[in-house]
Amino acid sequence: MSAPGSFSKPSWIGSGTMILDIFLTVSKGIGLTLYITAASLFFGGIVGLFLAAGAQSRFALLRLAVAAYVNVVRVIPPITWLFLIYFGLPQFALKLSTLEAAIVGFSVIASAFMAEIYRSGLLSIPVGQREAAHALGMGQLTTARWVITPQAFRVALPAIATYAIGLLKDSALASTIGVHEITYFAQQSAKQLHQGLLSFALAGALYIILSLVIAVISRRIHVRLRQKTGVA
């Protein structure tokens, strides 16, 4: 805080070197932010595949179980999930590090959302495709692997990218259990340097830039897939 009566600019604006200082501190968190996002999307994406397959099952009980899982995961706020996993699981002697807990938590959440995204992707594939594959003598697995999945993936990609961006922003919650990602470092510099506005504005800018990067990459992949499959 500047002394009363002095004519220096307000302290919350900050000087050039300070901005650089804070930027260097906050950007130390980029690695773990991306790591949590990518790992959770990966594990959630795989579990989501099984869930989506289960939702298509002939067994009503399995379909019901999947629907219940997806609903239960989604009605509980992410921060509650993280606390439940990080603070709660050690009582089962399952002690996770903060990073592991964050990845487990976000993977659980991502699996439910990814399952829904896959499901809507699958719904967009005409029944004729399955029938045609069957008529050509393809087995169920071969059809799923070579006919349905590539088409469904192309349809689901934009939704996956949107979800990835949402997950990137949700990963900020990992700071509440002490993972050293962007928001964590922003909080550190906000407290140590009394530069709350700058620290969190820079952190926010980083999130927006990373979101844009994800959006651009997914757009590229989408265009390439379109060219490869030769559809509009």
């Binding site: 009605v75 900020a172 919650l173 906000a190 709350g196």
Partner: protein, 218 residues
Amino acid sequence: MSFLNDWIAWLPQLGPGVAISLQLTGMALFFGFPFGLLLAAMAESRLATLRWISFLIVEVGRGLPALVLLYLLYFSLPDMGVILTSMTTAVIALSWNAGAYASEYFRAGLSAVPRGQKEAALTSGFSRWTGFRLVILPQALRISTPPLAGLAVLVFQGSALAFVIAVPELMSKAYEISSMTFRYLSVFSLTAIVYGLITWLFLALVKLLEVRLSRHLV
């Protein structure tokens, strides 16, 4: 079933937290939705400045994680001489966040109303404002309502974030109990169930609303 006894003992302590969570959600929606409508109207304005201001507010509100937005206000406003309670700060942050998302739904609703409606209103002698209020807006709102109701559910879940700036809502109460009893798993399971049940109730209402609003479409 010893955990059930714990839960029965803890529920009265969580109760006030639930009230604060609902209050926070209600206020964020009360300020956020009209703010979103204003932002949507600004985005359609003829003045480029207004469009830019709307764009900036919306992109910051949607692009930043709600948690970062919350911290941003909480740590920077006092430095600028604005001293607010943590509850007020949380209401502002969540309203901003909700308003930014809501503005997109309002815009989608407004752009779904056929142009002819506006022209018809003008030819019928309505002024621009009256035509907007009596002809365009009611039709747009019917389209925007289901996604807005869905957003309300998300705002309720987002209210749990206010825990980080010490608003005494459900999550804070849960943390308080757990750090006194060390029964983390049990406390947070109960908290998850409370959040889950309220969200479920909200979602059921949303579904009911959707059915009612689309009655005439069948």
